[in-house]
Symmetry: C2
Subunit: 341 residues, 2 copies
């Protein structure tokens, strides 16, 4: 690899002068500049970025950690942040956390160790205390879920309120027996959505019934395991005494598997609302009513917060929670009146 010294030798100048020319320092005479430029071109000089970053002491890269890149919600966030990063001449590391909370510290720290300029995390574990040792040198912003046991800015949505809106929407259509399907309650978002669901029921004078609630492992069953498992699980939920006439699915991955199962079972007449939009939701029969999670909006806000923190070093005030309002998109699946009982 050609070094600045190689170029300097060829041009008959010092390495420092080559550095000046290469970095457009005005303090170079035109003749020298020309000679150096000729040498740069002739030797096809390209800077050793590793050396440069070493000198700078920080990598102009940002890290993004998400549960699952395949989820359109997270894919949108990555794309949006990457565009912002490119504008600023930065690059992006991506890492996947999966569903298993135990991977999170290792995967995130692998990036933090690299002295990146900033980190964006959509966490899956319930304890971010492992970040304590990193937070002082690297700005960290949380997206979709707030950190636990660690102080950092976060950009989230009001899960409880939106779950209330979704549930109330089904109640407004006349449903009284409404099921809840969600991932494990060890996720704070699931807990809040469950709270919102129960609050909406109680507000309508409906007694919450835990036999209508399917948690823990639902994401695995509906999102990752075989369609047959999903059908079995859905079937069981619909077979309880006084079965539900509507379902509220508390995340998009679950929704996709659950909707697929309902189609298999021929139970598409059920009321249905999904927390989180998903591909083709608007083309199904009936089209699926969703709470739009507004990934674009979240990503933009998170980008502002993160890049501001990068630009304003050592502000690190008390962390703030930025909450973004969401909207329900009625499409049909929520508007079907329940079979009269």
């Amino acid at each position: 690899m050609t070094t600045m010294q190689d170029v300097a030798t060829r041009a008959g100048v010092s390495a420092k002068t080559v550095s000046r020319v290469f970095n457009d320092d005005p303090n170079v005479s035109p003749e020298t500049r020309e000679r150096v430029q000729e040498a740069l071109a002739a030797l096809n000089y390209r800077p050793n970025m590793l050396a440069r970053r070493f000198r700078e002491g920080r990598d102009s890269a940002i890290g993004i950690a998400v549960p699952n890149i395949g989820d359109p919600f997270f894919a949108t966030i990555i794309r949006s942040i990457e565009d912002r990063a490119v504008e600023r001449g930065m690059v992006v590391f991506v890492t996947t956390l999966g569903q298993d909370a135990t991977n999170e510290p290792a995967r995130v720290e692998r990036l933090m160790r690299r002295q990146i300029s900033g980190m964006l995390i959509a966490p899956v574990s319930n304890d971010q205390s492992y970040l304590e040792q990193w937070g002082d040198e690297t700005p960290i912003v949380f997206i979709d879920r707030e950190p636990i046991n660690f102080a950092a800015d976060s950009v989230v949505v009001d899960d409880e309120a939106m779950a209330r809106v979704a549930t109330a929407h089904l109640i407004d259509q006349g449903h009284r027996r409404i099921g809840f399907v969600g991932d494990t309650t060890s996720l704070v978002t699931t807990r809040k959505r469950l709270d919102g669901y129960r609050a909406a029921l109680q507000l309508a004078g409906i007694e919450p019934d835990d036999s209508l609630v399917s948690l823990d492992g639902s994401l695995l069953v509906f999102g990752y395991r075989s369609p047959a498992d999903a059908v079995a699980q859905a079937s069981a939920l619909l077979s309880v005494d006084d079965p539900p006439t509507a379902l509220f699915s508390s995340n998009a991955q679950c929704s996709m598997g659950l909707v697929r199962a309902l189609h298999s079972l021929g139970r598409t007449e059920l009321g249905f609302v999904s927390f989180g939009d998903f591909p083709m939701a608007d083309a199904l029969t009936p089209a699926v009513t969703v709470i739009d999670q507004n990934a674009e909006g979240l990503a933009e806000l998170a980008g502002n917060v993160l890049f501001d923190a990068i630009d304003a070093p050592a502000t690190r005030a008390t962390p703030s929670v930025h909450s973004l309002p969401l909207h329900l998109i009625p499409r049909g699946s929520g508007e079907i009146a329940p079979a009269s009982v």
Copy 2:
């Protein structure tokens, strides 16, 4: 930040000894080792990765460039490669190329400049000659599409053959008027799929009719613009003289928008095959028959090729094209007999 020298001072040894302890070099006396370890822990020493990589002269990271992270096909590839990378203690840079071919060189070179260990590219432009200057130092593997004007290994599928299979499938169901919807023919994959489509027609004694072919901009219309535009475009395609009774969509992004439009138009009775599976394709009514692009398989093969190249430096023999067989998944949309004419 604590340096090795800091630790050395505290332990009363030289920096080199700290290095030895930290890197598990056996040539350290137990007592010294203990003292150093105590100092390492006390000062919470963490190595400066920038310095280490600078010394090594190469970044143990791999870059991945894809047209669109939101496409489940590419998301799966990224996830798969990232898992492999993590096993090897590497990290992953991701960059998005978009549909616009002009971004590709800048976005890819931004990563190449960083002296990464390897690069995986699903290209969007028709000229990879810009990689000439990088290919010697960094292994590059292409996925989904072969490079043009540049010699490198690639992992692809037989687009022409699979497009023939898809089209023949529709012909077998009795369709004679079959439309083709695809992205711009400046993409080699689209050209090959169009060739396969025409070959299948001719094999069946059907004269290809360009009024049934919708290219250039279809991806934009069906994949990215408003649903209304998609409906209009689909409507136009279905309104030609002697209109099609079936459609072959040559990529998944197009398929999603096109299927949505067909549902809006109430034209779900059309025969339909998609090159590339997409989310919820199996839950639609009718479920959509697809050519499964086998992202997992492609990613695994590409990972093998790439990591082998990283491990066996300077082999760089004549590049080979690894082709992966695909399968058609019949689901219903291809099996509907055309309305009798």
